[in-house]
Homo-oligomer: 455 residues x 2
């Protein structure tokens, strides 16, 4: 009995010592992040000197080259490119829409073609038919829709506390309205932007025509304010819509994931990945989505290096290409990881914006959840309080198919302002707060350290 | 044994039922706040149509009249003014500063007189002597300081996670530098703005000369960027400063707290107060400080009324006058409360900005803390996680002196962006996010309800 007690005491004191050591090291991480971070100035460069960077574009390639140089300059153990072919969809130079009242008056709207849409091949003008949800559109008859322009006007449900739940609840109108309307003979589809505030910023994003689609009709998002106005007008009279877009799918293009590593001193073949995505939609500056995630990840590694931390396992930062419209970068990374014989023990993704941290979600088993929740006490002083099951991220998702039991951690910043800017011209550097960004870097560096030290 | 078990089961099921009922009602509060709130449009009116409103000013009086009308329009049981005399300090029309290099070149700085400062009575020009902290200034000799302009350049310590701790750590340079420098024969004092980012916005705030001060020297804050530049120049050469300000103390002026109530249906003489402060500094629009707190408080009461809630106790919203430079409104409110024979059972203040809610601090005893912490489960779905001992608020503070055991609750929004805007030209409506403001309204309405239902 005595000896068991002794063992318990020894174990508890080792745990307590480990927690104290962790606490002290995490405090040093936060001190670095809040006083010497380069995340904010790096993000400024990416946003202001390179700007938005859709997969396959010249700007995306500039971002690749700049990122590699930056990683090189930080003196990690290596920095390299991982080739991947990506789809290149190109917004045109003429992209305009108007609605037209019974009196023939034109009202221009704020509009963006959805990513992947075909162009209009000239100008389309037709009567608008409005649906409140995608489900309503699915129930429509051909007679209701044929030769018309379908308008799907489902707002984000503002009652959700997490705006990601509101997004999940209606993003299908963006993804599938063109497919459904096309089947019924519509000429084009416009959707209410999947954005939270009522304002004049249209929000783009990816859409799909479905495998073997026979018809591909143009699809665009109009601003929430335009959607409100248009819907009100449709209560009173028939309205026509005039649409002109010259976007097009160009083809597959050579691109790259950008990668850097601190080699593991004990288990160099065991990999912990941390990353975000390099590509953005071709509007705004991709500041929150996902420039912030890139800078979080890179700065996390830089902080650990500058604290002279010697990781047990290999810590690898990845700037993934093509999250927005295909995830070819994420797929390639997981495939190559498997082929190389590496053992991937954990991955972290930041792709929910550069806002003030709340915590982490886990895509993993109950033992991994117990680990995450055991971190609550050492992370509480930093206002981190979300340690729950949830989603990891699009880029790191394919790792799960290659490595069965790998835990995927999704960084969870506060979500309230994300859908003010997401995929819109409004996603610019000025909407990122320096301290909020830095706290994200520190939170991710802390988790990276805690995984490496405890796995 | 069996009967005790039965009692335990009954008690637990009553508690569980109460929690379920609370949860359902709180969900209704949030639904109202996130879909039908008037807080954001009311704040827009206050900021854009009235603007900043220092105690005693015409704008403060406009704000009083508008608030009374607004409260009246909501059909509470009453709405009224509580007279209070307040100090009126008036910024002048000429307020300028330059530093002057050895070559005689002038560099204009971004500057605001500190609240309560005397003017310069013409132009002051003198050599600058820099101190890093107030403590350093206190240790200075007369020979170091006499006939010079003292520059106190202590930055906010960015390592603090709560920016209020960083503020608390250096706000004394704003409050007491003039008194200390004056004693040593300085001609004026300029301080580094007590603001977090390095930028061009000066931050004002109150300062004190001390009781029976023999000398009163002018005091102003320069922007953090100007402070950095000036300090760098002082490393290289002697620098003079040129200061001109015509601010002045006008005198005591008639003003008002603005109050509205929902009468208690069981204990009308038991009062729960919720409020923020009406006055602001005379720069920016007083959007976060404390227009947001006003709208939080008023909307909390409006939501409960619109849900047809019948409070047990009297719920009272108060727009306090003169928090910034005297707290005459808070003092008057507590004095009148005591005189009237009312029983004050709790008070809530919102004066930390309109940012996303984190929780509440309590100035109270351990039993009251246990109550606050018991609310964690029903408030967790709304991302509220801070339920700790702390500070209530300046306005409600005097209630503690009149009602010994009253618990004071301070609303705690996220603090990261507060000292970007606090007391500066940057504290404008555009820096307030609609959903973040609405979540604050709901959090406060929820606490108000939970106190009323459980006390």
């Amino acid at each position: 009995m005595k000896s068991i007690l002794l063992i318990v005491v020894v174990v508890l004191s080792v745990v307590a010592h480990a927690q104290t050591a962790d606490s002290a090291f995490i405090r040093r991480i936060y001190d670095k992040a809040l006083t010497e971070s380069e995340a904010y100035s790096n993000l400024r460069y990416l946003c202001k000197n390179i700007g938005h960077r859709i997969s396959g574009s010249a700007a995306a390639q500039q971002a690749v080259e700049w990122s590699l140089k930056l990683m090189d300059s930080y003196g990690f153990d290596n920095a390299y490119l991982q080739p991947v072919m990506v789809p290149y969809w190109k917004r045109g130079t003429k992209e305009e829409g108007w609605y037209k009242t019974g009196m023939g008056e034109l009202q221009k709207v704020h509009l963006l073609a959805l990513g992947g849409s075909v162009g209009t091949n000239g100008t389309i003008e037709a009567e608008i038919v409005e649906f409140k949800t995608l489900e309503d559109l699915k129930k429509a008859t051909k007679a209701q829709v044929e030769k018309k322009i379908v308008f799907v006007n489902e707002p984000m449900n503002s009652k959700h506390i997490s705006t990601f739940n509101a997004y999940g609840g209606c993003v299908s109108i963006r993804a599938y309205s063109a497919e459904e309307a096309g089947k019924l003979g519509a000429l084009a589809v416009i959707i209410r932007s999947v954005g939270m505030p009522i304002d004049e910023h249209p929000h783009t994003g990816s859409m799909y025509y479905g495998e073997d689609a026979k018809v591909k009709i143009p699809a665009a998002a109009i601003s929430t304010q335009d959607a409100e106005n248009l819907s009100a007008l449709l209560q009173q009279q028939k309205v026509k819509f005039v649409l002109r877009m010259d976007c097009e799918y160009v083809g597959m293009v050579q691109s790259f994931n950008v990668i850097a590593e601190m080699k593991g001193t004990v288990h160099p073949n065991k990999i912990i990945t941390v990353g975000g995505h390099m590509d953005s939609w071709d509007t705004g500056e991709g500041a929150h989505d996902d420039g912030a995630g890139l800078m979080h990840s890179l700065e996390a590694l830089r902080i650990l290096k500058n604290l002279n931390y010697k990781p047990k396992n290999t810590l690898r930062v990845v700037f993934f290409m093509n999250e927005e419209n295909g995830n070819y970068g994420g797929e390639m990374y997981a495939k190559k990881a498997k082929e190389s014989g590496e053992e991937h023990i954990a991955a972290i993704e930041s792709d929910a914006g550069g806002f003030v941290p709340r915590g982490f979600h886990l895509d993993g088993n109950s033992q991994q959840l117990a680990f995450l929740q055991s971190l609550a006490p050492v992370l509480k002083p930093y206002d981190l309080h979300v340690f729950e099951k949830g989603y990891g991220g699009v880029d790191i998702g394919p790792l799960k198919r290659q490595f069965d039991s790998i835990p995927l951690f999704g960084f969870i910043p506060d979500s309230q302002r994300y859908f003010d800017v997401h995929h819109s011209p409004n996603d610019v550097f000025e909407t990122v707060n320096k301290r909020e960004l830095e706290l994200g870097c520190a939170a991710i560096a802390s988790l990276l350290y805690l995984i490496d030290a405890n796995f």
